[in-house]
Symmetry: C3
Subunit: 207 residues, 3 copies
């Protein structure tokens, strides 16, 4: 079950890289690299910061083949993917992946005896930095930095829920489920109700 979610999340993240790279008219090298970085960049950065080896995609080389296959079969399907119910399915999967990656990142950081705030930040990094690096490779300001929609914040909330319940003495898998639920649920709510982060500062004082 968890593996199914993981595969679905990796596909959702990789496809976000496919869409972005095809939009920039990249060739097969660019499409693969951007999809790969979108899928594995967050976890890789976390592992480098934690000095943890082997890396996630080294341990699961089948996921590398998965992204290669997506690079080859994905692009012609993208037009089809953006219409219809596929788009909704992708957003749900992305929200699930965000929660799963973020909370499991926090769990790994806690296991490495990081302080709470650091573990939470590394969890958020795991969930969102694939997208940040994807945007940097495409020469854009990372979209989660300025689109005023809760994404990293949902991961942040989910990681605190996990950390809090873990501290209260719940069993690991219960705290994990609750954390993933909080992150994914708040993200789905935010998308469904079109929540916005208020501008800060209210009017821009620096220009």
């Amino acid at each position: 079950m968890l593996i199914l979610i993981e595969v679905a999340a990796i596909i959702a993240f990789a496809v976000s890289g496919l869409i972005e790279s095809v939009r920039h008219r990249m060739d097969v090298v660019g499409v693969f690299t951007v999809a790969f970085v979108a899928a594995f960049g967050g976890g890789t950065l976390r592992d480098v910061l934690l000095d943890r080896r082997p890396l996630f995609w080294v341990q699961h080389q089948e996921y590398v083949w998965l992204v290669m296959a997506l690079t080859l079969i994905g692009p012609p399907l993208l037009g089809w993917m953006r219409h219809r119910w596929v788009d909704r399915l992708m957003q749900a999967t992305d929200a699930l992946g965000l929660g799963l990656f973020a909370v499991s990142g926090t769990a790994l950081a806690l296991a490495a005896e990081m302080p709470l705030i650091v573990a939470v930040l590394l969890g958020v990094v795991t969930g969102v930095f694939g997208g940040v690096l994807r945007d940097l490779l495409c020469n854009r300001i990372p979209v989660i930095f300025y689109d005023h929609r809760p994404y990293a914040l949902c991961a942040f909330i989910g990681c605190w829920v996990f950390v809090g319940l873990d501290w209260l003495g719940l069993e690991d898998w219960q705290a994990l489920m609750a954390g993933v639920g909080a992150a994914t649920g708040s993200r789905l709510l935010a998308v469904g109700l079109d929540w916005r982060i208020p501008p800060w500062p209210r009017e821009s004082s620096v220009d």
Copy 2:
């Protein structure tokens, strides 16, 4: 005393991230990330290259909270910060932070038995790469690469002064003070006298 300088330097670096990110109209996620990277990016890159753990901001989690607090209280104050004597104070603090971070980075690299030139370069990286990564996240060419004002060069000089005095057999803290003084002093002079790095090559031969 050293801790006071360190805190002041982290604030100065983080505020440079605040200014840059607010100018790009980022939301709270972007503002925090850019401020965090501006404050800790250089030291983190040095530690990753040296394979040194725990990272600076993992060891001092209070600094992470400090940047969070700055993200919340900073942006509305930015307009006020850019007028008046605050601007001057910030430049002095930034110069002090540049020297302190660069020379202590070199000292750490020497302690890890790096060759001299590598230790000096890692010192400069510690001092200036927070700003480089800040600019990359904001999708700009790093300002220290093209503004023709001595910044990285001042750190470079300070690191060599430290390395030279250390080699001459001075005590650690004396060499450190002299190195920080050389870097900070030359930076303040460069700002005060408006020094420029001459263009190189004299006329551009590649277009």
Copy 3:
């Protein structure tokens, strides 16, 4: 002999950084940084991902001095470099460096007991990510992602040739020579015959 090729390859990679940075009118700090990253970025990223120390340029500090010397003497010569037979020589050296770096990167990854596909990818990263990071520092989409000319693909082929012959039981140096030959040869052919990677998908379906 190998050392001669290595030095020539580092010069070719560093000069690509010089050209790019001078074109963006950077000062001496930017020119050195971009040249350094173009020369050593790929190998450094590989070593960080493999958690391998000391880094290549820490072990061979003479190469750091080489890039410093190039930064000082290179820019005025760039106009001269781009005309005449020098340009061709540079392309040949670059192709040789691509093959040498990629295949030796794969060999190092295999020695670290990475799975085949990961070793091949790390080889390609060694060969091409210096250029990717160079372009990111210059605020461009990495040229190998969209120029539809085989570059990373040639490294990819050469690494597979090396891995395949190694698996067949050939001696190390024979497999290495064949791999470098395949990568360099296919790159030279691609340049000479002006091969293109077909667009993928055929017409863009996402806009």
